[in-house]
Protein backbone atom coordinates (compact mmCIF):
# COMPACT_ATOMS: atom_id res chain seq x y z
CA UNK A 1 0.00 0.00 0.00
CA UNK A 2 2.88 2.36 0.66
CA UNK A 3 3.68 2.59 -3.08
CA UNK A 4 0.02 3.38 -3.79
CA UNK A 5 -0.05 6.14 -1.21
CA UNK A 6 3.14 7.58 -2.64
CA UNK A 7 1.78 7.65 -6.18
CA UNK A 8 -1.49 9.21 -5.00
CA UNK A 9 0.44 11.90 -3.14
CA UNK A 10 2.51 12.56 -6.23
CA UNK A 11 -0.56 12.74 -8.47
CA UNK A 12 -2.95 14.98 -6.54
CA UNK A 13 -3.24 18.58 -7.65
CA UNK A 14 -2.39 19.98 -4.23
CA UNK A 15 0.90 20.77 -2.57
CA UNK A 16 1.48 18.50 0.44
CA UNK A 17 4.21 19.01 3.02
CA UNK A 18 4.47 17.15 6.30
CA UNK A 19 6.63 18.52 9.11
CA UNK A 20 7.64 16.67 12.25
CA UNK A 21 7.58 18.29 15.68
CA UNK A 22 10.97 19.98 15.02
CA UNK A 23 9.70 21.58 11.76
CA UNK A 24 11.76 19.13 9.72
CA UNK A 25 10.28 18.23 6.33
CA UNK A 26 9.36 14.53 6.24
CA UNK A 27 7.10 14.59 3.19
CA UNK A 28 7.27 16.77 0.06
CA UNK A 29 5.08 15.69 -2.83
CA UNK A 30 5.74 16.10 -6.55
CA UNK A 31 3.41 19.10 -6.82
CA UNK A 32 5.68 20.92 -4.35
CA UNK A 33 8.79 20.02 -6.35
CA UNK A 34 7.19 21.21 -9.57
CA UNK A 35 5.98 24.54 -8.26
CA UNK A 36 8.81 25.44 -5.88
CA UNK A 37 11.71 24.21 -7.97
CA UNK A 38 13.00 22.38 -4.89
CA UNK A 39 13.24 18.61 -5.48
CA UNK A 40 12.08 16.32 -2.71
CA UNK A 41 15.58 15.02 -1.98
CA UNK A 42 16.68 18.64 -1.43
CA UNK A 43 13.71 19.39 0.81
CA UNK A 44 13.52 16.27 2.96
CA UNK A 45 15.16 16.43 6.38
CA UNK A 46 15.57 20.19 5.99
CA UNK A 47 14.08 22.55 8.52
CA UNK A 48 11.01 24.20 6.94
CA UNK A 49 12.16 27.67 7.98
CA UNK A 50 15.58 27.12 6.46
CA UNK A 51 13.78 26.45 3.19
CA UNK A 52 11.48 29.47 3.62
CA UNK A 53 13.28 31.83 6.00
CA UNK A 54 10.97 34.80 5.29
CA UNK A 55 8.07 32.87 6.87
CA UNK A 56 9.74 32.78 10.29
CA UNK A 57 7.58 34.65 12.80
CA UNK A 58 4.82 35.20 10.25
CA UNK A 59 1.27 33.90 10.11
CA UNK A 60 2.31 30.53 8.65
CA UNK A 61 4.76 30.05 11.53
CA UNK A 62 1.92 30.72 13.97
CA UNK A 63 -0.33 28.25 12.16
CA UNK A 64 2.35 25.53 12.29
CA UNK A 65 2.80 26.20 15.99
CA UNK A 66 -0.99 26.01 16.54
CA UNK A 67 -1.04 22.61 14.84
CA UNK A 68 2.06 21.13 16.50
CA UNK A 69 1.66 22.57 20.00
CA UNK A 70 -2.09 23.03 20.39
CA UNK A 71 -3.52 20.49 17.96
CA UNK A 72 -5.49 23.24 16.19
CA UNK A 73 -6.02 23.42 12.42
CA UNK A 74 -5.59 26.71 10.54
CA UNK A 75 -6.72 28.20 7.28
CA UNK A 76 -4.64 30.80 5.45
CA UNK A 77 -6.82 32.51 2.88
CA UNK A 78 -5.41 34.02 -0.28
CA UNK A 79 -7.14 37.33 0.45
CA UNK A 80 -5.42 37.88 3.77
CA UNK A 81 -2.09 36.25 2.97
CA UNK A 82 -1.67 36.52 -0.84
CA UNK A 83 1.43 34.46 -1.56
CA UNK A 84 3.27 33.20 1.53
CA UNK A 85 5.48 30.66 -0.29
CA UNK A 86 7.71 31.21 -3.33
CA UNK A 87 5.68 28.93 -5.61
CA UNK A 88 5.08 29.50 -9.30
CA UNK A 89 2.38 28.24 -11.65
CA UNK A 90 4.86 27.58 -14.48
CA UNK A 91 8.29 28.39 -15.85
CA UNK A 92 7.37 31.78 -17.30
CA UNK A 93 5.90 32.97 -14.03
CA UNK A 94 8.94 31.68 -12.14
CA UNK A 95 11.27 33.64 -14.43
CA UNK A 96 9.22 36.78 -13.93
CA UNK A 97 9.10 36.18 -10.16
CA UNK A 98 5.30 36.18 -10.25
CA UNK A 99 4.15 34.05 -7.32
CA UNK A 100 1.17 31.73 -7.45
CA UNK A 101 -1.97 32.84 -5.58
CA UNK A 102 -2.23 30.37 -2.71
CA UNK A 103 -4.66 29.17 -0.09
CA UNK A 104 -3.11 27.04 2.66
CA UNK A 105 -4.39 24.76 5.37
CA UNK A 106 -2.25 23.55 8.24
CA UNK A 107 -3.62 20.56 10.14
CA UNK A 108 -2.21 18.48 12.97
CA UNK A 109 -1.47 14.81 12.21
CA UNK A 110 -1.67 12.51 15.21
CA UNK A 111 -0.22 9.03 14.87
CA UNK A 112 -0.23 6.58 17.78
CA UNK A 113 3.18 6.35 19.44
CA UNK A 114 4.65 9.26 17.47
CA UNK A 115 5.21 12.89 18.30
CA UNK A 116 2.69 15.10 16.54
CA UNK A 117 3.27 16.08 12.91
CA UNK A 118 1.52 18.65 10.79
CA UNK A 119 0.33 18.66 7.21
CA UNK A 120 0.53 21.81 5.10
CA UNK A 121 -1.71 21.72 2.04
CA UNK A 122 -1.28 24.32 -0.67
CA UNK A 123 -3.98 25.09 -3.22
CA UNK A 124 -3.41 27.12 -6.37
CA UNK A 125 -6.28 29.63 -6.41
CA UNK A 126 -4.93 31.81 -9.24
CA UNK A 127 -7.88 31.01 -11.49
CA UNK A 128 -10.42 31.96 -8.82
CA UNK A 129 -8.56 35.19 -8.05
CA UNK A 130 -8.52 36.13 -11.70
CA UNK A 131 -12.21 35.33 -12.04
CA UNK A 132 -13.01 37.54 -9.07
CA UNK A 133 -10.99 40.47 -10.28
CA UNK A 134 -12.88 40.30 -13.57
CA UNK A 135 -16.16 40.12 -11.67
CA UNK A 136 -15.14 43.09 -9.57
CA UNK A 137 -14.32 45.22 -12.62
CA UNK A 138 -17.61 44.35 -14.23
CA UNK A 139 -19.60 45.05 -11.09
CA UNK A 140 -17.87 48.43 -10.78
CA UNK A 141 -18.56 49.26 -14.41
CA UNK A 142 -22.20 48.28 -14.02
CA UNK A 143 -22.51 50.32 -10.85
CA UNK A 144 -21.28 53.46 -12.55
CA UNK A 145 -23.87 53.04 -15.28
CA UNK A 146 -26.78 52.90 -12.88
CA UNK A 147 -28.70 55.94 -11.85
CA UNK A 148 -28.67 55.39 -8.10
CA UNK A 149 -26.23 56.72 -5.57
CA UNK A 150 -24.26 53.94 -3.87
CA UNK A 151 -24.47 55.25 -0.35
CA UNK A 152 -27.90 56.80 -0.03
CA UNK A 153 -29.84 54.88 -2.67
CA UNK A 154 -31.35 58.12 -4.02
CA UNK A 155 -30.84 59.31 -7.61
CA UNK A 156 -27.19 60.00 -8.39
CA UNK A 157 -25.54 62.89 -10.22
CA UNK A 158 -25.85 61.11 -13.56
CA UNK A 159 -29.57 60.74 -13.03
CA UNK A 160 -29.83 64.41 -12.05
CA UNK A 161 -28.01 65.56 -15.18
CA UNK A 162 -30.34 63.57 -17.40
CA UNK A 163 -33.47 64.70 -15.55
CA UNK A 164 -32.66 68.43 -15.33
CA UNK A 165 -31.90 68.53 -19.01
CA UNK A 166 -35.16 66.79 -19.85
CA UNK A 167 -37.26 68.98 -17.53
CA UNK A 168 -35.65 72.22 -18.71
CA UNK A 169 -36.48 71.36 -22.30
CA UNK A 170 -40.01 70.41 -21.34
CA UNK A 171 -40.44 73.69 -19.42
CA UNK A 172 -39.25 75.73 -22.42
CA UNK A 173 -41.54 73.82 -24.74
CA UNK A 174 -44.70 74.00 -22.63
CA UNK A 175 -44.03 77.26 -20.80
CA UNK A 176 -44.64 75.55 -17.46
CA UNK A 177 -42.76 76.62 -14.33
CA UNK A 178 -39.74 74.64 -13.15
CA UNK A 179 -38.08 74.90 -9.74
CA UNK A 180 -34.74 73.64 -8.60
CA UNK A 181 -33.34 73.37 -5.08
CA UNK A 182 -29.69 72.95 -4.20
CA UNK A 183 -29.13 72.05 -0.59
CA UNK A 184 -26.38 70.90 1.65
CA UNK A 185 -25.74 69.88 5.24
CA UNK A 186 -24.43 72.67 7.47
CA UNK A 187 -20.95 72.31 8.99
CA UNK A 188 -20.66 68.85 7.46
CA UNK A 189 -16.87 68.90 7.23
CA UNK A 190 -16.74 69.63 10.96
CA UNK A 191 -19.16 66.74 11.48
CA UNK A 192 -16.89 64.35 9.59
CA UNK A 193 -13.84 65.57 11.49
CA UNK A 194 -15.62 65.19 14.80
CA UNK A 195 -17.43 61.87 14.27
CA UNK A 196 -15.44 60.12 11.52
CA UNK A 197 -16.39 59.27 7.95
CA UNK A 198 -18.44 56.23 8.83
CA UNK A 199 -20.80 58.31 10.93
CA UNK A 200 -20.65 61.06 8.34
CA UNK A 201 -22.00 58.53 5.86
CA UNK A 202 -24.71 57.50 8.31
CA UNK A 203 -25.71 61.16 8.66
CA UNK A 204 -25.92 61.55 4.86
CA UNK A 205 -28.07 58.45 4.71
CA UNK A 206 -30.41 59.66 7.47
CA UNK A 207 -30.84 63.13 5.99
CA UNK A 208 -31.41 61.86 2.47
CA UNK A 209 -33.85 59.21 3.67
CA UNK A 210 -35.88 61.87 5.50
CA UNK A 211 -35.92 64.25 2.53
CA UNK A 212 -36.41 61.72 -0.25
CA UNK A 213 -39.93 60.90 0.93
CA UNK A 214 -41.11 64.53 0.75
CA UNK A 215 -41.52 64.80 -3.02
CA UNK A 216 -45.05 63.87 -3.89
CA UNK A 217 -45.22 63.63 -7.66
CA UNK A 218 -43.57 61.06 -9.87
CA UNK A 219 -41.65 63.64 -11.90
CA UNK A 220 -40.12 65.25 -8.78
CA UNK A 221 -36.54 64.13 -8.34
CA UNK A 222 -34.43 64.14 -5.21
CA UNK A 223 -30.78 63.47 -6.09
CA UNK A 224 -27.38 63.43 -4.47
CA UNK A 225 -25.47 66.10 -6.34
CA UNK A 226 -22.08 65.28 -4.82
CA UNK A 227 -20.53 65.05 -1.33
CA UNK A 228 -23.01 66.47 1.17
CA UNK A 229 -24.88 68.37 -1.53
CA UNK A 230 -28.30 67.34 -2.80
CA UNK A 231 -30.62 68.71 -5.47
CA UNK A 232 -34.37 68.59 -5.95
CA UNK A 233 -36.00 69.04 -9.37
CA UNK A 234 -39.63 70.15 -9.18
CA UNK A 235 -41.36 70.33 -12.57
CA UNK A 236 -44.60 72.35 -12.86
CA UNK A 237 -43.84 74.00 -9.53
CA UNK A 238 -43.83 77.79 -9.14
CA UNK A 239 -41.20 79.46 -6.95
CA UNK A 240 -43.54 80.21 -4.07
CA UNK A 241 -44.55 76.53 -3.71
CA UNK A 242 -40.90 75.45 -3.92
CA UNK A 243 -39.99 77.90 -1.15
CA UNK A 244 -42.69 76.49 1.11
CA UNK A 245 -41.47 72.96 0.45
CA UNK A 246 -37.89 73.99 1.13
CA UNK A 247 -38.83 75.46 4.51
CA UNK A 248 -40.59 72.21 5.42
CA UNK A 249 -37.46 70.29 4.43
CA UNK A 250 -35.28 72.45 6.69
CA UNK A 251 -37.62 71.80 9.58
CA UNK A 252 -37.78 68.08 8.83
CA UNK A 253 -34.00 67.77 9.10
CA UNK A 254 -33.83 69.87 12.28
CA UNK A 255 -36.54 67.62 13.74
CA UNK A 256 -34.36 64.55 13.16
CA UNK A 257 -32.39 65.82 16.18
CA UNK A 258 -29.09 64.41 14.96
CA UNK A 259 -26.51 65.75 17.45
CA UNK A 260 -23.64 67.77 15.98
CA UNK A 261 -21.29 68.85 18.77
CA UNK A 262 -18.96 70.60 16.33
CA UNK A 263 -21.74 72.77 14.87
CA UNK A 264 -21.46 76.50 15.41
CA UNK A 265 -25.22 76.76 15.89
CA UNK A 266 -26.32 76.97 19.54
CA UNK A 267 -28.66 73.94 19.36
CA UNK A 268 -25.78 71.65 18.18
CA UNK A 269 -27.99 69.74 15.73
CA UNK A 270 -27.65 68.76 12.08
CA UNK A 271 -29.36 71.31 9.82
CA UNK A 272 -29.46 72.07 6.09
CA UNK A 273 -29.39 75.21 3.97
CA UNK A 274 -31.35 75.43 0.73
CA UNK A 275 -31.08 77.63 -2.34
CA UNK A 276 -34.13 77.79 -4.60
CA UNK A 277 -34.36 79.02 -8.20
CA UNK A 278 -37.45 78.96 -10.37
CA UNK A 279 -38.54 79.85 -13.86
CA UNK A 280 -42.11 80.90 -13.53
CA UNK A 281 -43.14 81.09 -17.15
CA UNK A 282 -40.82 78.95 -19.12
CA UNK A 283 -38.48 81.84 -20.07
CA UNK A 284 -35.45 79.74 -19.15
CA UNK A 285 -32.74 79.96 -21.77
CA UNK A 286 -30.08 77.57 -20.50
CA UNK A 287 -30.10 74.87 -17.84
CA UNK A 288 -26.89 76.11 -16.26
CA UNK A 289 -28.52 79.46 -15.50
CA UNK A 290 -31.06 77.71 -13.29
CA UNK A 291 -28.39 75.61 -11.58
CA UNK A 292 -26.19 78.69 -11.08
CA UNK A 293 -29.03 80.66 -9.55
CA UNK A 294 -29.91 77.84 -7.13
CA UNK A 295 -26.24 77.51 -6.25
CA UNK A 296 -25.88 81.24 -5.55
CA UNK A 297 -29.04 81.15 -3.44
CA UNK A 298 -27.51 78.29 -1.45
CA UNK A 299 -24.35 80.34 -0.81
CA UNK A 300 -26.53 83.22 0.26
CA UNK A 301 -28.39 80.95 2.71
CA UNK A 302 -25.03 79.88 4.11
CA UNK A 303 -23.85 83.47 4.38
CA UNK A 304 -27.05 84.53 6.14
CA UNK A 305 -26.48 82.05 8.96
CA UNK A 306 -27.47 78.59 7.58
CA UNK A 307 -30.48 76.44 8.50
CA UNK A 308 -32.57 78.57 6.11
CA UNK A 309 -33.92 78.97 2.59
CA UNK A 310 -32.93 81.71 0.10
CA UNK A 311 -33.99 82.27 -3.47
CA UNK A 312 -32.47 84.05 -6.48
CA UNK A 313 -34.03 84.68 -9.88
CA UNK A 314 -32.16 83.00 -12.70
Amino acid sequence: MAWLMQSVLDTIDVGAIVLDHCHEVVLWNRWMSQHSGVASNEALQRNFFDLFPDQRGRRLDGAIMQALDNNMPSLLSQTLNRWPLPLYTGKTEAEQGERMQQALTVTPINVEGEQRHCLIQVNDVSAAVQRESLLREQAMALRSQTLLDDLTGVANRRHFDIAIDREARRSRRTGSPLSLMMLDIDYFKAYNDRYGHQQGDACLEAVSAALATMQQRPADLFARYGGEEFAVILPDTPGETALQMARLMCRKVRDLHIPHEASQAPHKLITISIGVASTDSGHLREVYELINAADRALYQAKACGRDRVETIKP
Binding site: N70, M72, P73, L75, S77, Q78, T79, A139
Partner: protein, 207 residues
Protein backbone atom coordinates in the same frame (compact mmCIF):
# COMPACT_ATOMS: atom_id res chain seq x y z
CA UNK B 1 -30.76 21.58 34.55
CA UNK B 2 -27.12 22.44 34.94
CA UNK B 3 -26.27 26.06 35.45
CA UNK B 4 -23.00 27.91 35.78
CA UNK B 5 -22.50 30.04 38.89
CA UNK B 6 -21.45 33.71 38.74
CA UNK B 7 -17.95 32.71 39.75
CA UNK B 8 -17.72 30.12 36.98
CA UNK B 9 -19.01 32.61 34.40
CA UNK B 10 -16.50 35.24 35.56
CA UNK B 11 -13.70 32.72 35.21
CA UNK B 12 -14.83 31.98 31.65
CA UNK B 13 -15.01 35.68 30.73
CA UNK B 14 -11.43 36.05 31.93
CA UNK B 15 -10.27 33.03 29.95
CA UNK B 16 -12.02 34.17 26.76
CA UNK B 17 -10.53 37.64 27.06
CA UNK B 18 -7.07 36.09 27.11
CA UNK B 19 -8.06 34.07 24.04
CA UNK B 20 -9.40 36.98 21.97
CA UNK B 21 -6.40 39.07 22.99
CA UNK B 22 -4.16 36.52 21.29
CA UNK B 23 -6.46 36.41 18.26
CA UNK B 24 -6.33 40.21 18.02
CA UNK B 25 -2.56 40.28 17.93
CA UNK B 26 -2.51 37.55 15.27
CA UNK B 27 -4.96 39.57 13.16
CA UNK B 28 -3.05 42.81 13.69
CA UNK B 29 -0.01 41.06 12.24
CA UNK B 30 -1.93 39.96 9.17
CA UNK B 31 -3.57 43.28 8.35
CA UNK B 32 -0.75 45.54 9.54
CA UNK B 33 -3.28 47.53 11.50
CA UNK B 34 -4.17 47.50 15.16
CA UNK B 35 -7.03 45.11 15.78
CA UNK B 36 -8.43 45.08 19.30
CA UNK B 37 -10.92 42.56 20.62
CA UNK B 38 -12.65 41.99 23.89
CA UNK B 39 -15.38 39.87 25.39
CA UNK B 40 -17.40 42.17 27.64
CA UNK B 41 -19.97 39.56 28.57
CA UNK B 42 -21.06 35.98 28.18
CA UNK B 43 -24.41 34.38 28.71
CA UNK B 44 -25.71 30.92 28.91
CA UNK B 45 -29.06 30.02 27.44
CA UNK B 46 -31.18 27.37 25.72
CA UNK B 47 -30.74 27.16 21.96
CA UNK B 48 -34.14 28.64 21.06
CA UNK B 49 -33.52 31.64 23.32
CA UNK B 50 -30.06 32.12 21.82
CA UNK B 51 -31.53 32.11 18.32
CA UNK B 52 -34.09 34.70 19.37
CA UNK B 53 -31.43 36.91 20.92
CA UNK B 54 -29.33 36.78 17.74
CA UNK B 55 -32.38 37.60 15.64
CA UNK B 56 -33.02 40.77 17.66
CA UNK B 57 -29.45 41.92 17.00
CA UNK B 58 -29.56 41.34 13.27
CA UNK B 59 -30.16 44.24 10.91
CA UNK B 60 -30.97 44.71 7.25
CA UNK B 61 -31.61 41.37 5.57
CA UNK B 62 -31.86 39.70 8.99
CA UNK B 63 -29.41 37.09 7.78
CA UNK B 64 -26.34 36.13 9.69
CA UNK B 65 -22.97 35.10 8.42
CA UNK B 66 -21.37 32.35 10.49
CA UNK B 67 -18.05 30.56 10.59
CA UNK B 68 -18.18 27.27 12.47
CA UNK B 69 -15.69 24.72 13.73
CA UNK B 70 -16.34 21.50 15.59
CA UNK B 71 -14.21 20.62 18.58
CA UNK B 72 -13.94 17.39 20.51
CA UNK B 73 -11.76 16.04 23.30
CA UNK B 74 -11.94 17.46 26.83
CA UNK B 75 -15.42 18.55 25.90
CA UNK B 76 -17.40 18.53 22.70
CA UNK B 77 -18.83 21.62 21.07
CA UNK B 78 -19.70 23.33 17.84
CA UNK B 79 -18.33 26.84 17.92
CA UNK B 80 -19.77 29.48 15.59
CA UNK B 81 -18.62 33.06 15.11
CA UNK B 82 -21.52 35.16 13.85
CA UNK B 83 -22.05 38.63 12.42
CA UNK B 84 -25.07 40.26 10.80
CA UNK B 85 -24.52 39.80 7.06
CA UNK B 86 -23.88 43.51 6.42
CA UNK B 87 -21.26 43.62 9.17
CA UNK B 88 -19.34 40.81 7.52
CA UNK B 89 -18.82 43.04 4.49
CA UNK B 90 -17.67 45.84 6.72
CA UNK B 91 -15.13 43.53 8.37
CA UNK B 92 -13.83 42.29 5.05
CA UNK B 93 -13.54 45.87 3.83
CA UNK B 94 -11.60 46.89 6.92
CA UNK B 95 -9.34 43.85 6.92
CA UNK B 96 -8.77 43.54 3.17
CA UNK B 97 -8.99 47.18 2.19
CA UNK B 98 -11.79 46.78 -0.33
CA UNK B 99 -14.84 44.69 -0.91
CA UNK B 100 -16.81 43.53 -3.91
CA UNK B 101 -19.82 45.74 -4.62
CA UNK B 102 -22.07 42.71 -4.35
CA UNK B 103 -24.85 41.66 -2.02
CA UNK B 104 -23.06 38.57 -0.83
CA UNK B 105 -19.45 37.94 -0.01
CA UNK B 106 -17.51 36.53 -2.95
CA UNK B 107 -15.78 33.18 -2.61
CA UNK B 108 -12.44 34.79 -1.76
CA UNK B 109 -14.09 37.09 0.75
CA UNK B 110 -15.81 34.11 2.35
CA UNK B 111 -12.43 32.46 2.72
CA UNK B 112 -11.04 35.58 4.35
CA UNK B 113 -13.97 35.56 6.80
CA UNK B 114 -13.32 31.86 7.42
CA UNK B 115 -9.73 32.62 8.28
CA UNK B 116 -10.79 35.39 10.67
CA UNK B 117 -13.22 32.95 12.30
CA UNK B 118 -10.55 30.25 12.41
CA UNK B 119 -8.09 32.50 14.23
CA UNK B 120 -10.68 33.71 16.69
CA UNK B 121 -12.30 30.35 17.45
CA UNK B 122 -8.95 28.58 17.82
CA UNK B 123 -7.80 31.25 20.24
CA UNK B 124 -10.95 31.02 22.35
CA UNK B 125 -10.97 27.26 22.43
CA UNK B 126 -7.19 27.17 22.86
CA UNK B 127 -7.46 29.39 25.93
CA UNK B 128 -10.06 27.01 27.35
CA UNK B 129 -7.93 23.95 26.60
CA UNK B 130 -5.02 25.68 28.24
CA UNK B 131 -6.73 26.24 31.60
CA UNK B 132 -8.28 22.79 31.44
CA UNK B 133 -4.79 21.43 30.88
CA UNK B 134 -6.29 19.26 28.18
CA UNK B 135 -6.08 19.12 24.43
CA UNK B 136 -8.95 19.48 21.98
CA UNK B 137 -9.25 18.39 18.36
CA UNK B 138 -10.73 20.82 15.90
CA UNK B 139 -12.06 20.77 12.34
CA UNK B 140 -11.29 23.38 9.69
CA UNK B 141 -13.80 26.25 9.47
CA UNK B 142 -17.04 26.16 7.46
CA UNK B 143 -18.80 29.27 6.20
CA UNK B 144 -22.61 29.62 6.20
CA UNK B 145 -25.17 32.34 5.68
CA UNK B 146 -28.68 32.03 7.08
CA UNK B 147 -31.12 33.06 9.74
CA UNK B 148 -30.18 32.65 13.38
CA UNK B 149 -32.40 29.62 13.94
CA UNK B 150 -30.81 27.72 11.02
CA UNK B 151 -27.37 28.79 12.08
CA UNK B 152 -27.71 27.26 15.52
CA UNK B 153 -29.48 24.11 14.38
CA UNK B 154 -26.60 22.60 12.42
CA UNK B 155 -25.77 20.49 15.43
CA UNK B 156 -27.15 19.21 18.71
CA UNK B 157 -30.84 18.91 19.43
CA UNK B 158 -33.57 21.06 20.99
CA UNK B 159 -32.19 20.40 24.46
CA UNK B 160 -28.77 21.87 23.61
CA UNK B 161 -27.49 24.82 25.53
CA UNK B 162 -25.55 27.72 24.07
CA UNK B 163 -22.71 29.59 25.68
CA UNK B 164 -22.77 33.00 23.98
CA UNK B 165 -19.80 35.31 23.93
CA UNK B 166 -20.42 38.87 22.97
CA UNK B 167 -17.32 40.07 21.11
CA UNK B 168 -16.31 43.66 20.36
CA UNK B 169 -13.84 44.29 17.54
CA UNK B 170 -12.13 47.61 17.01
CA UNK B 171 -10.44 47.94 13.62
CA UNK B 172 -9.31 51.33 12.34
CA UNK B 173 -11.21 53.04 15.20
CA UNK B 174 -14.43 51.39 14.10
CA UNK B 175 -16.31 49.18 16.45
CA UNK B 176 -18.07 46.05 15.24
CA UNK B 177 -19.82 43.54 17.47
CA UNK B 178 -20.24 39.86 16.86
CA UNK B 179 -21.09 36.78 18.85
CA UNK B 180 -19.56 33.40 19.36
CA UNK B 181 -21.89 30.54 20.22
CA UNK B 182 -20.64 27.31 21.73
CA UNK B 183 -23.36 24.72 21.28
CA UNK B 184 -23.18 21.99 23.90
CA UNK B 185 -25.28 19.10 25.02
CA UNK B 186 -25.75 18.26 28.69
CA UNK B 187 -22.73 15.99 28.98
CA UNK B 188 -20.47 18.60 27.32
CA UNK B 189 -21.86 21.13 29.74
CA UNK B 190 -21.08 18.91 32.71
CA UNK B 191 -17.53 18.47 31.39
CA UNK B 192 -17.15 22.23 30.98
CA UNK B 193 -18.46 22.89 34.48
CA UNK B 194 -16.17 20.35 36.11
CA UNK B 195 -13.12 21.68 34.19
CA UNK B 196 -13.92 25.25 35.18
CA UNK B 197 -14.27 24.13 38.80
CA UNK B 198 -10.97 22.35 38.92
CA UNK B 199 -9.37 25.43 37.33
CA UNK B 200 -10.98 27.59 40.02
CA UNK B 201 -9.89 25.19 42.74
CA UNK B 202 -6.31 25.36 41.47
CA UNK B 203 -6.45 29.15 41.18
CA UNK B 204 -7.99 29.61 44.66
CA UNK B 205 -5.74 27.06 46.22
CA UNK B 206 -2.92 29.35 45.17
CA UNK B 207 -1.26 26.40 43.50
Amino acid sequence: MIRLTELELDALVEVFNIGVGQAASAMSEIVNETVAMSVPSISFLPRAAAAKLLATKSTGSGRICGISQRYSGAFQTDAILMFPEEKSRQIVRLMVGESMPLEELSQMEQEAMSEIGNILLNSCVGALANIFERELNGSLPDYHVGYSEEMLSHSGDGASMVLMLHIEFVIERQQISGDVAFIMDMSALEDLKSHVNSYLARAMGGA
